[in-house]
Symmetry: C2
């Protein structure tokens, strides 16, 4: 495969790393970057992430083979609306948003209907750092990318987007939109919310200065995701509200039962729950 | 300082690493190990962690300068009862339990009163691995050790225990028992319970096999502590029940508010909470 003109809308960690990976694989001829902030584009040019910077989105998408929307999920609809009048027939669009139901609905509203050239996607990769300075070509190596084609998605468009991610070293799979959002609510959105919540609880305690001094390695690992971008996670929590609420209720119910076991000194209940958790984690996370 | 005869009761990760660190610092002449399991003692001898293995506890503590109780906190009282009749006047006792109120009460019950030679302690160090095979001399380097001397604790005994941990490269500080248990409930016991709870929630879902496949790096970090020893954490949760329940209620209240914000689409509330958390974590955990 080769992409003559790749357009990255939102040149941050995710979009920037994609551009770098495709450049390294030598499967892209020309990378155009668009961002709201000129400073970002200058940095992206300087780092060799993009070949051409555009602040006018109509110019950016002109003649594009493949457009990748890599902005926070809360900004997708406005972005789609801005590119809608300028999209050409041969252009394939995909995105890198962490929620898929909201992005599909954003596309439906912005384009009037779901375009056949639109292939929703989600690379399950990321670090707490953000911004184009943090981009690196290996971000997607060995990581999973989930594509959630719509019934309208064109088969060849799906195949092109799949090939693009495979060139980055990713393992690509397909899933339906609702299932994606449920799975990610469980493994990503809920853990982020819990980590933020715990750190915020501690931060608002009177003795927080002292308390954090005694945070050991386990605490650091547990709360690492609480250093993620608040705006991005605000968007995700709202965009995947329904699936997240289902998981929050399930988790809270289970936590209430564990709390009752602590209160009642029910050691057997605690031991069984901890053992199930350890066995599951050791098995799945190695 | 020098310790002629150091006795480690419970030769696992914690006790074994202490022995290795003191040997490397060349401040201990002879290390005696006691364990319920002969297999553990054979392994500890083989690894050079201890110089002498004893399965009879009365023999183990005979002529000891310093005895370190490094068994799970739920096993402390029975251990203290077994050594009580054999302790000699010059022997200092300390422990490495993660909860201090429960250990102090165990000592009070086992010895009839709090001995002046008893200095409760807690090295804040640990990895998910356990057992003497996991022991290493650097475990305590740069880590904090909290001593919680009782009003009965002899000043020179406290100084000896402090010096012992400093020889391992640890930063030693003193705190009162109740405060220790509150701080650790916040930074260690609650996070462990939450990590276990989340993994157990997911493990009991119908699609758990599939769900765990999509767990990315953030999830692995978040749940690493759920691979800790279930028996040990069962002990800790029960031993520090009161302080843990206070934190559980505080956390659950805050999580309920975040859940309501998700339900009501209150983005401003979410953003503020996430931002406070990120700022606190970036500041304290670097």
């Amino acid at each position: 495969m080769n992409i003559d003109r790749l357009v990255i809308l939102g040149v941050g960690l995710i979009g920037g790393s994609l551009a770098l990976a495709l450049k390294r694989a030598a499967v892209v001829t020309h990378v155009v970057g668009w961002s709201r902030r000129e400073q970002t584009l200058l940095k992206a040019l300087e780092l060799g992430v993009i070949d051409q910077a555009e602040t006018e989105i109509s110019k950016a998408v002109q003649g594009a083979d493949l457009v990748v929307a890599a902005v926070p999920v809360g900004a997708m609809e406005a972005l789609f609306k801005r590119i809608a009048p300028h999209l050409e027939e041969q252009t394939i669009i995909t995105d890198a948003g962490s929620t898929k139901g909201s992005v599909v609905e954003a596309a439906r509203r912005a384009f009037g209907k779901l375009p056949s050239c639109f292939v929703p996607g989600h690379p399950i990769a990321g670090v707490e750092q953000s911004g184009v300075e943090a981009a690196f070509a290996d971000l997607y190596r060995g990581r999973r990318v989930i594509l959630t084609p719509t019934p309208e998605s064109d088969y060849t468009a799906v195949a092109r987007v799949r090939a693009m991610w495979e060139q980055c070293g990713a393992k690509v799979m397909e899933m339906d939109v609702a299932h994606h959002d449920e799975v990610l609510a469980a493994t990503s959105h809920l853990p982020h919310l819990l980590a933020y919540s715990l750190v915020d609880t501690l931060a608002r305690m009177d003795e927080s200065e002292e308390i954090f001094q005694f945070a050991a390695g386990g605490f650091r690992d547990f709360t690492r995701i609480a250093s993620s971008d608040p705006q991005m996670w605000h968007d995700i929590c709202l965009a995947n509200r329904d699936a997240l609420l289902v998981m929050l209720e399930r988790f809270s119910g289970d936590l209430t039962q564990l709390t009752e076991a602590v209160r009642n000194g029910d050691g057997e209940y605690l031991k069984q729950a901890f053992l199930r958790a350890k066995q599951a984690r050791d098995r799945f996370c190695g």
